[in-house]
């Protein structure tokens, strides 16, 4: 089991190396002069020269690369062109809302999707099943911002149950934080829920036709226990795999959701960076988001050993 984890851990190194390489060469291989594009249309040659120097584009490429890698290995993601602050510092300032949003979304999505998927599989080919599957097809199609604005309209503006926008930090009270994050988490979780519910149903249907489910029923095991104890654990691997795949969707969604709900997290940092064409920030965020994604996939690979004893050896 340790060997399995170590192997998975080692496999993440080349992936992250490729990400870093990719981000570096993106700046150097794009056609045209990135410094000029970043500076904007009405920049003076001096401005462009200044940006070129800040990005280190005036130095030989191998030297730039060396500095970049060296800095990365020391946790230095570069410096913002406009605020002159280290990207790492900017990221840390904006971390909390995004992490809270991601965890809340994950919790909401899993908590709703798995029961729905199990229900749909148990009641396969009935009205209940069709409603759940219809919801899942819709959930794929409706964009995050539409769900977001609809939720704001209904629950914040019409019903006044929850705040319209903004984020309350954890330090000022958890209840307020949860209230401020509830709508964003549901909006962002919609697609995710659809994805997980769908795979849960498919995986459960496959498992429910297995011989050992018949054995369990022949033992006199009641339906809830057949579904949860005997079937769900066997159906788990495709489900957690999709939770991992969906995490990428979630990261992309965080950027949009934070804009819809005016949450000062990493997503807003991204949007601000886009508007100012602050490439080092975007570069740093890509590495951080990719790192998170790789980490989540690693955790999911490790979780397989919990669900399937056959992988433990």
């Amino acid at each position: 089991m340790t060997a399995y984890i170590v192997r998975r851990l080692l496999a993440t190194i080349p992936v992250m190396a490729i990400v870093a390489l990719f981000v570096f060469f993106l700046l150097h291989l794009t056609p045209g002069d990135p410094a000029a594009v970043i500076a904007g249309d009405d920049a003076s040659p001096a401005d462009i020269e200044g940006i070129r120097r800040k990005l280190g584009l005036d130095r030989p490429i191998w030297e730039q690369f060396g500095v970049y890698v060296w800095n990365l290995l020391h946790g230095d993601l570069g410096t913002s062109i406009f605020s002159n602050m280290p990207v790492m510092t900017l990221v840390m300032q904006r971390l909390e809302p995004s992490v809270v949003l991601a965890i809340a979304t994950l919790t909401v999505a899993v908590a709703f999707a798995i029961p729905l998927g199990v229900l749909a599989a148990w009641k396969a080919d009935t009205a209940v099943d069709r409603v759940v599957m219809g919801f899942s097809v819709l959930g794929f199609a409706v964009p995050v911002f539409l769900v977001g604005y609809l939720l704001i309209y209904v629950f914040a503006i019409q019903l006044r149950w929850l705040p319209v926008q903004g984020y309350r930090p954890l330090a000022n009270g958890v209840v307020d934080t949860l209230r401020s994050i509830a709508l964003p988490a549901f909006a962002l979780g919609m697609t995710y829920m659809a994805l997980i519910a769908r795979i849960t149903r498919a995986s459960m249907l496959e498992v429910l036709s297995e011989d050992y489910i018949r054995t369990a029923r022949a033992k006199g095991v009641a339906t809830p226990s057949v579904l949860l104890r005997h079937a769900l654990k066997n159906a788990a691997i495709p489900i957690v795999t999709v939770i991992g795949i969906g995490f990428a969707l979630l990261i992309s969604g965080v950027v949009i959701t934070e804009t819809v709900f005016n949450i000062p997290g990493l997503g807003r940092l991204t949007v601000d960076a886009i508007l100012k064409r602050d490439y080092p920030i975007i570069q740093g965020l890509i590495i951080i988001f990719a790192g998170v994604k790789v980490l989540v996939n690693l955790l999911i690979d490790i979780s397989y050993t919990f669900f399937d004893p056959r992988i433990r050896q």
């Binding site: 033992k219 006199g220 095991v221 004893p309």
Partner: protein, 358 residues
């Protein structure tokens, strides 16, 4: 639907006294896109306490569906018991609630399935799977159920049961898994054990061990067994009484010696002909218990069969066999068969029958 009530009426009544399970004119149908499949089409038998009854037939003849019907495990909406009765120790099972059926399943009637490889849950330990029925039916706590599970593993002669109880199915051999299945089925001391081809998926050497284990435990615990098999070798070694099924119907029933020595129905004769004789070692080429050697195909169960289901493959068939269903009636002490031509068949020696040409 009740086209052959007469068959049911002439069916044998309880053999000797103490009946634990009584199946009367059972009919189980499945609903497919192409129509209704009459998987079990009028099966009647009684099982005495502690008796071993074998049900024999080709795959698709309705033996497994009979077993699942007894346990109330026919998947709803796909199939159902359309008529007939199953009485277990004085209780009618066909009208019992799902809740009641659950308290009987795995407790008073247990089942062992064919594939030990796929019939055990791969993500639960063997001990968990055995102790589960004890916790459900005997309300034992976790600790007590686990200890009892280890005792059961020892009872089915698994070495080092303490360690094995904590292992997962994939860590066990096929034979060991089937022992676990037996331990699981017998954990609550059931009155009836339904074993559906329990040895088919196992190596020949292990088959005998598993059968002997079952018979030994049956004697020790007083369990009645319904053993479903397509293998007449298994029948000869285990059964007291045998039922032969064909196309969802019973074609013959007799005590095991009587059936093997004096088969009345041409189908039964075909079955016996296709296993190698014990005495003469000459019939080498024939494989053990493979029934496909009877020429022709099993009829489709989608259309009602007016006459004898075996008629299209039978060299004795007359026009009457095709139009009129033969009654299941006595042709000797405790010997029943459903055939119009028993007299003609008895006049022919069995050797002539087997090699029906194609």
């Amino acid at each position: 639907m009740k086209s052959n009530v007469s068959t049911a009426a002439t069916a044998p009544i309880a053999t000797n006294g103490d009946t634990i399970l009584s199946v009367q004119d059972l009919r189980t149908h499945f609903y497919t896109r192409d129509g209704v499949v009459r998987a079990v089409d009028g099966v009647t038998f009684d099982l005495a306490r502690g008796e071993t009854l074998c049900i024999v037939g080709e795959s698709g003849c309705g033996k497994s569906v009979t077993a699942l019907s007894i346990l109330g495990l026919i998947p709803p909406k796909i199939g159902e018991i359309v008529s007939g009765s199953i009485r277990f120790d004085g209780t009618e099972l066909t009208t019992e609630s799902e809740r009641e059926m659950r308290s009987i399943r795995g407790n008073r009637i247990s089942m062992i399935f064919q594939e030990p490889m796929t019939s055990l849950n791969p993500v639960l330990t063997v001990g968990e799977q055995i102790s589960e029925s004890l916790r459900i039916h005997q309300r034992l706590d976790r600790r007590a159920a686990w200890d009892r599970a280890i005792e059961m593993l020892a009872l089915v002669r698994i070495a080092d049961p303490k360690r094995r109880a904590g292992e997962y199915p994939h860590q066990l051999s096929g034979g060991m898994r089937q022992r676990v299945m037996i331990a699981m089925a017998l954990a609550c001391n059931p009155q009836v054990l339904v074993a559906d081809e329990p040895t088919t998926a196992l190596d020949v050497t292990i088959q005998a061990q598993i059968l002997n284990l079952m018979l030994e435990l049956k004697d020790r615990l007083g369990t009645a067994i319904v053993l479903i098999t397509h293998d007449l070798g298994v029948v000869a070694e285990t059964a007291q009484r045998v039922i032969v099924m064909y196309a969802g119907r019973m074609v013959e029933e007799a005590p095991v010696r009587e059936l093997l020595n004096n088969p009345k129905h041409p189908y039964t004769r075909g079955l016996i002909g296709s296993i190698p004789r014990r005495k003469s070692g000459g019939a080498r080429g024939r494989t053990r218990g493979r029934l496909q050697e009877i020429s022709g195909l099993v009829p489709s169960l989608r259309e009602p069969i007016p006459g004898c289901a075996f008629a299209p493959r039978c060299s004795f068939a007359t026009p009457r066999c095709i139009t009129e269903q033969p009654p299941f009636e006595a042709h000797g002490p405790r010997h029943f068969a459903a055939c119009w031509e028993v007299a003609r068949i008895e006049a022919t020696s069995s050797d002539q029958l087997v090699s029906s040409p194609t």
